[in-house]
């Protein structure tokens, strides 16, 4: 059954902006992205919003709904109270372009800084074989849809713009973890560069990235903390360091 709901939508650009109140019809089963589209169609024809699949798989409609980073296409209107005003703003960790659209190019720059998978020289393309239990571990990380909600909520950059130079963010820590846990990846210094170049040590594991992940990737427990422990192996544990020198092997 249709009902009218109260929305507050942030309108503006890099020079100025503010929250605008609007009342819009919402039908049963609709998500926040649906009502934003209805506002765009009926009341604010120039409202800028990024979206694509409407199925929680493309990661385009990331925004903040009642202050929480979420996908608008996966947030049911019915999950809010009937009298509640739903406040919709752009992601607050990235530069604003217009209305609900932000410039997320920070993430693409960081992606380019992560060295790619390095294949064993003795294995020709097509010869590589992996056991299922080795594949499963990194498959969790491959579920990432690059919505960048984890990057948005991470206080290291959200609350400290200056840290963007030296901090890759949770999305790229799962990428580094995926590669470092890959049985065939031959690049040896991922742990060291994770700590020294990509800012793993900046993370204080308050787990907000895990809380907002729409794919339910256990970013902190399965990627960041294991990487921190691997860094301890090579940088802060003399016994492990000595063992690795004697046995001359970094990963087992």
């Amino acid at each position: 059954m249709a009902r009218n709901i109260k929305l507050r939508i942030w309108r503006g650009d890099s020079t100025d902006g503010g929250l605008k109140d609007v009342v819009v019809e919402a039908n049963e089963g609709e998500v926040v992205l649906d009502v934003i589209h209805r506002v765009q169609a009926t009341q604010m024809g120039d409202l800028a919003v990024r979206w694509n699949c409407k199925a929680g798989k493309c990661g385009s409609c990331s925004m903040e709904i009642n202050g929480k980073p979420r996908l608008a296409c996966m947030t049911q209107v019915a999950s809010f109270g009937e009298e509640e005003t739903i406040t919709v703003t752009p992601l607050r960790a990235f530069p604003i372009i217009k209305d609900l659209v932000t410039d997320v190019s920070f993430n693409y720059k960081k992606a380019m800084e992560i060295p790619a998978y390095e294949h064993p020289k003795e294995l020709a393309p097509g010869q590589a074989r992996m056991e299922q239990i080795d594949v499963e571990r990194s498959q969790e990380f491959r579920k990432c849809i690059e919505c960048f909600l984890c990057q948005d909520v991470c206080h290291v950059v959200r609350d400290h713009e200056e840290n963007k130079k030296s901090f890759a963010g949770p999305r790229f820590f799962i990428r580094i973890a995926e590669l470092d846990m890959h049985p065939l990846d031959m690049l040896k210094n991922r742990k060291k560069t994770a700590q020294e170049e990509h800012g793993l040590g900046m993370c204080n594991i308050t787990k907000c990235c895990t809380e907002v992940c729409p794919e339910h990737i256990r970013i902190t427990d399965n990627a960041i903390i294991p990487m921190k422990e691997r860094v301890v192996d090579i940088k802060y544990d003399p016994a492990r360091w000595l063992g690795s020198k004697i046995r001359r092997r970094e990963g087992l």
């Binding site: 406040t87 607050r92 056991e131 609350d159 890959h182 204080n204 294991p226 087992l252």
Partner: protein, 266 residues
């Protein structure tokens, strides 16, 4: 102006637009941890009421000081002097540093106290009040990387506390085959400490997490999967074990002072 108030970001004056009770969880965490710290400090310096045959408080075990009351030591092994620089050293002070260090550097408790005590951040998508942030890259927080050493020490302590739980199945005359409420309290406390330790992220890394090839190490992979199951509940074990240890100490203290009677089942 930094963070969410940076000039390039959407101009929103509120530190957060969250409408839920985001402050409740850090407030509860602060209250519980602060109460525990106050109580543990009081008990560490009290230097009394920590042993009553056959129960010893987990705060004072293993009792290694020459000041330990008769019967509370392990086979009379007391390598630590009762006084250091004319200061009467409580036996608890010698050992509490290890479990305290284990919990302070624990990956779960870090989340809890960074949020509740240091507001870094107070909750997700709530702007923190600090101007600068360097995380765990420099002293003192870089010492969080010593977690594994406290983990190893914690395992040793768990052995002692399990021993304490076993010998609590005696009566106050030292005869085996009896069980009291105190036995149950120490057994639950030491068991939860084992679960807390074995569910630890460092334990998960040590048994198999550091491997690149699970398929080449099937036994370690199996261990890793078991520890991973426990690891899902690490937060719960952290709180349950903390509560159980605190209650075990309260129980022993109350029995030692005579306020409570240690009821024997058989």
């Amino acid at each position: 102006m930094s963070g969410v108030f940076s000039p390039t970001r959407a101009k929103i004056k509120e530190r957060t637009l969250r409408t839920d009770k985001w402050w409740l969880q850090p407030l509860i965490t602060f209250g519980v941890l602060f109460s525990f710290i106050i109580y543990a400090t009081f008990r560490a310096f009290e230097n009394a009421n920590y042993f009553v045959e056959p129960l010893i408080s987990p705060f004072y075990s293993p009792c290694l000081s020459q000041a330990c009351v008769a019967g509370s030591t392990i086979a009379g092994f007391t390598p630590v002097s009762a006084h250091v620089l004319n200061f009467a050293l409580s036996p608890a002070l010698i050992i509490l540093i290890f479990p305290l260090g284990f919990r302070m550097t624990c990956y779960y408790y870090r989340k809890a106290y960074y949020r509740a005590f240091w507001l870094s951040p107070p909750a997700c998508a709530v702007a923190e009040p600090h101007e600068k942030y360097t995380g765990e890259t420099r002293a003192p927080l870089i010492f969080q990387n010593a977690h594994r050493w406290f983990f190893y020490a914690g395992l040793v302590f768990n052995v002692f506390l399990t021993y304490d739980a076993i010998i609590s199945f005696k009566n106050d005359q030292g005869q085996w085959g009896h069980m009291s409420v105190g036995s149950l309290v120490l057994l639950i406390s030491s068991s939860l400490l084992w679960f807390y330790s074995l569910s630890c992220h460092t334990c998960r890394h040590t048994v198999g997490g550091r491997l690149k090839h699970f398929s080449k190490h099937p036994v370690r992979y199996k261990l890793w999967t078991w520890v991973s199951i426990l690891n899902h509940k690490h937060q719960q074990f952290a709180w349950y074990s903390l509560a159980a240890v605190a209650f075990a100490d309260i129980y022993v203290r109350e029995v030692a002072t005579g306020a409570w009677t240690n009821f024997y089942f058989f």
